[in-house]
Symmetry: C2
Subunit: 288 residues, 2 copies
């Protein structure tokens, strides 16, 4: 992969990477189209497909995570094709076994939201993305904003270590009823699927609260929790409002915040064993 990427670089092409864990859905394909568009005429798009063991906790769904490389290749071909699919084995990615001899550790931004209940998850993500960047040598990489905390951490990591890779966040792609696309949606029973609409409804409620002048984070979180409570099968893990840059919890939303009034409303909700996440950006302006 590195040789292919270096050759494409030497030929003056602009390399874009779309890192995925496979089980591709329309959300992934939107990232691929975005990558192709941004690369332009001389673009070179690589999609990586790797279910990374180091970002799953011992009680999480690593073994059960859907793997469907043949279907993924078909989906990519149908979507117009890509220049390279990088689907390494575990042994290629972790040549010395697990735990790896070297890992990329992150700090601060992983304290809340998913980081609070998934210890080691973002270290696993930072480590595998480092390996993917080194293997695929992209100029830019496209990530979904559904994993907003992941994207924030990777932006900081990429800037801190000096990769020289531009990170692009692609807007969340949703089903008609609002459910964010996710490879894990296929785990849901019909009843769970129907009720899973409460995640996006909760985010809309948070947006509506802010729009109507609410600035108290606890009240906004309450509005989200009220929506989730409408779904008897839903078991909320968190529903939080954090600063969009620092990802630290806040009491009151203000345009004078470190991120200039930008906040992230984010939630994680279990349906049975299936954990779904979703988020939206909240902005409070000086005029409000």
């Amino acid at each position: 992969m590195q040789a292919e990427a270096e050759a494409a670089r030497a030929a003056g092409r602009r390399l874009a990477l779309v890192p995925t864990m496979g089980a591709l859905h329309d959300g992934h394909l939107a990232l691929v189209r975005d990558a192709r568009r941004r690369g332009g005429e001389d673009g070179h798009v690589t999609v990586s497909v790797f279910v990374n063991p180091t970002q799953f906790g011992p009680a999480e769904d690593f073994d059960a995570y859907p793997r469907a490389l043949d279907a993924d290749l078909d989906a990519l071909a149908e979507a117009g094709g890509v220049d390279a699919v990088f689907a390494p084995t575990d042994a290629a990615m972790y040549p010395f076994g697990l735990p790896p001899y070297a890992t990329v550790a992150v700090r601060d931004l992983d304290r809340h939201l998913c980081g609070a209940t998934r210890p080691g998850h973002f270290e696993g993500v930072a480590t595998v993305v480092t390996k993917l960047f080194l293997a695929c040598r992209p100029h830019l990489a496209v990530f979904g904003q559904k994993d907003a905390q992941q994207l924030a951490i990777l932006r900081r990591m990429t800037a801190e270590l000096g990769f020289g890779v531009e990170l692009v966040g692609h807007p969340i792609v949703r089903e008609p009823d609002g459910l964010a696309l996710s490879s894990r949606n296929r785990y849901l029973s019909a009843a769970e699927r129907a009720q899973a609409v409460v995640l996006s409804r909760a985010l809309r409620a948070a947006e509506a609260a802010v729009e109507s002048g609410e600035r108290d984070a606890a009240a906004i979180q309450g509005a989200m929790e009220d929506q989730i409570a409408e779904a008897p099968l839903a078991r909320p893990q968190y529903a939080e409002v954090v600063d969009a840059g620092t990802l630290q919890p806040v009491d009151t939303l203000s345009p004078e915040s470190p991120s200039g009034g930008r906040y992230l409303a984010a939630l994680a909700v279990f349906f049975g064993d299936t954990r779904l996440i979703d988020n939206t950006t909240l902005e409070v302006g000086r005029g409000a």
Copy 2:
């Protein structure tokens, strides 16, 4: 630096990096010559000069460490010049301040020798070398074997993360009396300098013991300690025999070891506040 390096790569040149903390001595210049030789006709040699704060402990000599960029540039020019000198500021290397948001953590190989008494040192080294590799984009990097544990850890890190950088270990360069060259030698008083010869003498004693059939690690360590005890100003920190690959302590030297009979005899000795290190490879063959 990254733009310069990418341009050199695109032009088909072979990039070699010699990472240093400056205060260059003949040992460093030997690394530079090695880098130039290995790059060949199309070679491109970068010397980095950066006194990396994250690899110094709070009680160590970061502030006192010699900085002499002008003299370093003169020395490099006199030695025939290089293609680039990368001498970044702390702010350029750590754009978010300290501690960094992302660090490269290593395991196992940092437990003994210098790692035992310098917690965080090798994490700082792994992190800064990651940054240097990303900034300077070398095909190969030349390190001195005086820092044998550092080199072993960096080899593993480079292979684990998949940098695609070839690491070259350059033999230790010594004064006529055997003292390994080090930027820290300039701290030594005349009396300390005279007695500092015991480090290399201790290693010669370890080699002689093995040559005469000694296979007991404690006995070999004893032979080293006896030599160091000859210097009244010397305060030994460690004198150890470890497996050359795993850097774990051993009881008995054997050709059937994980590293095929290769061991590292390594020591650290204080003279006043000045800490000196040195090492040699011990080999026991099947015929012995």
